[in-house]
């Protein structure tokens, strides 16, 4: 009887601890999302955008950071919406997506570099 209570109590304690840790930390997920603050990251590295496809909610802000040793930029494929300045190493560009849709973009300096933000 005692053993059962003890193990049940332990389970409860463990469950509570797990629950506490879930709610107190908003750790960024593997693709750079920080869901609690609406800030999203895209790393520009090795002539590619990472993640290449990023899905965000309406109103989200995305920050691109250039980790390469050459400049890159972020430009909408259709010429609308997104046009960053040239980003040298470590420079950042931020864009807030106010409307739903699929936003294809690329680096107009190295056009093989393409990416997409899906806003829904």
């Amino acid at each position: 009887m005692k053993k059962a209570i003890l193990s049940a109590a332990t389970t409860v304690v463990v469950a509570m601890a797990f629950g506490l840790s879930r709610s107190s930390q908003a750790r960024p997920a593997a693709n750079g999302q920080n869901t609690s603050t609406g800030q999203y990251q895209v790393e520009i590295d090795n002539f590619s955008f990472g993640p290449a496809t990023l899905t965000v909610p309406v109103g989200a802000t995305v920050t691109w950071t250039n980790q390469d040793e050459v400049p890159h930029n972020v430009v909408s494929t259709d010429g609308k919406d997104i046009k960053s300045p040239v980003l040298d190493t470590d420079q950042k560009f931020t864009h807030t997506f106010a409307q739903a849709g699929t936003y294809a973009y690329y680096c107009s300096i190295h056009p093989k570099m393409t990416g997409k933000v899906i806003v829904q």
């Binding site: 002539f47 390469d68 040793e69 190493t89 056009p111």
Partner: protein
């Protein structure tokens, strides 16, 4: 080019290229009717019995110029913290060569970030070249932000459109092309229809024996499309040049030498004066390649190109800085 008295030897040979051994032979056999002339370190012998071979155009028609590329002025990362020094070293090397080139060709990425100070610095360094004339075409790093307006103001005042142009020198027709503007997502370099139409018209009236030299930043053949090393519509450009007996295409962009011959067309890419890049597919991306400091200058360099009348391929010689 001075012809010194002791270089004029009379010897019965016909019109062939003769090397140092031949020169010594020439020296030994005097008085039988040939003229040995040293031009550009290369010995040519001409038969005095055939006056046409001594025509001024044959003896003086030789043309030598030097291609430099990808100076990326303003770059300062680990692959080369001092691109000023290496560009100056390239100019010093050109100045020290036995032959002074008629002019320099810069195949683009003059600057790293299209900043005015970067262009100014390159201009300053090139002033120390003995060859005063420099022809340019832009690289993608030269047309940032303003769609190439600054580049045009500096280097393209007499050019057409986005900076393309042609000129003649010693019977060779030179064509500078721009393939770094209006690049489409997922694509390669682009010439565009306006430039292609101009090119077709530009070469229309030339005889097929006119040697052609085309220079553009991004390679005009598919070196490695995965890294953007190619030009979407180069095939159309090359179709206008197919009928010519000698076409030389000089490019930059890839920061290493590569050569391909296709019929009468020789394609050649130059090294950078700033930093090397990896060979196709040997790295995750075509970014600057860091090598041990003592190796850097062996991977940077200049390219000298020599046109000799009667020879239909131009002699292309790459020299590294170390």
């Amino acid at each position: 080019m001075r012809r010194q008295k002791e270089e004029l030897i009379l010897h019965n040979h016909n019109n062939d290229g003769v090397d140092r051994r031949g020169f010594l032979k020439c020296m030994a056999w005097a008085g039988t009717g040939a003229l040995c002339v040293i031009k550009g370190g290369v010995l040519r012998s001409y038969s005095l019995s055939d006056p046409a071979s001594l025509a001024a155009s044959a003896l003086d028609g030789e043309l030598e110029f030097v291609q430099i590329s990808d100076s990326h002025m303003g770059f300062n990362k680990a692959a080369n913290p001092d691109v000023v020094a290496t560009l100056q070293a390239a100019v010093d090397k050109i100045n020290a060569a036995p032959v002074e080139p008629a002019f320099l060709l810069h195949t683009g990425d003059i600057s790293h970030l299209s900043k005015p100070t970067e262009f100014d610095t390159v201009d300053q360094i090139l002033k120390s070249a003995k060859a005063k004339q420099v022809f340019f075409v832009p690289g993608e790093h030269d047309v940032l932000e303003d769609n190439g307006q600054q580049y045009l103001d500096r280097y393209g005042k007499t050019a057409k459109g986005a900076g393309w142009y042609s000129f003649g020198n010693k019977g060779v027709h030179f064509i500078g092309l721009v393939n770094v503007l209006n690049l489409k997502a997922g694509g390669l370099g682009t010439l565009g229809s306006e430039q292609l139409e101009w090119l077709e018209d530009d070469v229309k009236g030339l005889s097929a024996s006119t040697p052609i030299v085309v220079f553009a930043h991004i390679p005009l053949w598919a070196v490695y499309p995965e890294w953007g090393w190619g030009t979407e519509d180069s095939a159309q450009a090359l179709s206008y040049l197919k009928r010519f007996g000698s076409v030389t295409v000089l490019n930059g962009h890839i920061h290493q030498t590569m050569q391909k011959v296709e019929g009468n067309i020789t394609f050649h890419t130059a090294t950078s004066t700033a930093f090397p890049q990896p060979q196709p597919g040997t790295a995750p991306s075509p970014g600057p390649l860091k090598v041990p400091a003592e190796q850097l200058r062996s991977l940077l360099g200049v390219t000298s190109v020599d046109y000799v009348p009667g020879k239909h391929t131009l002699a292309i010689v790459d020299s590294s800085l170390a």
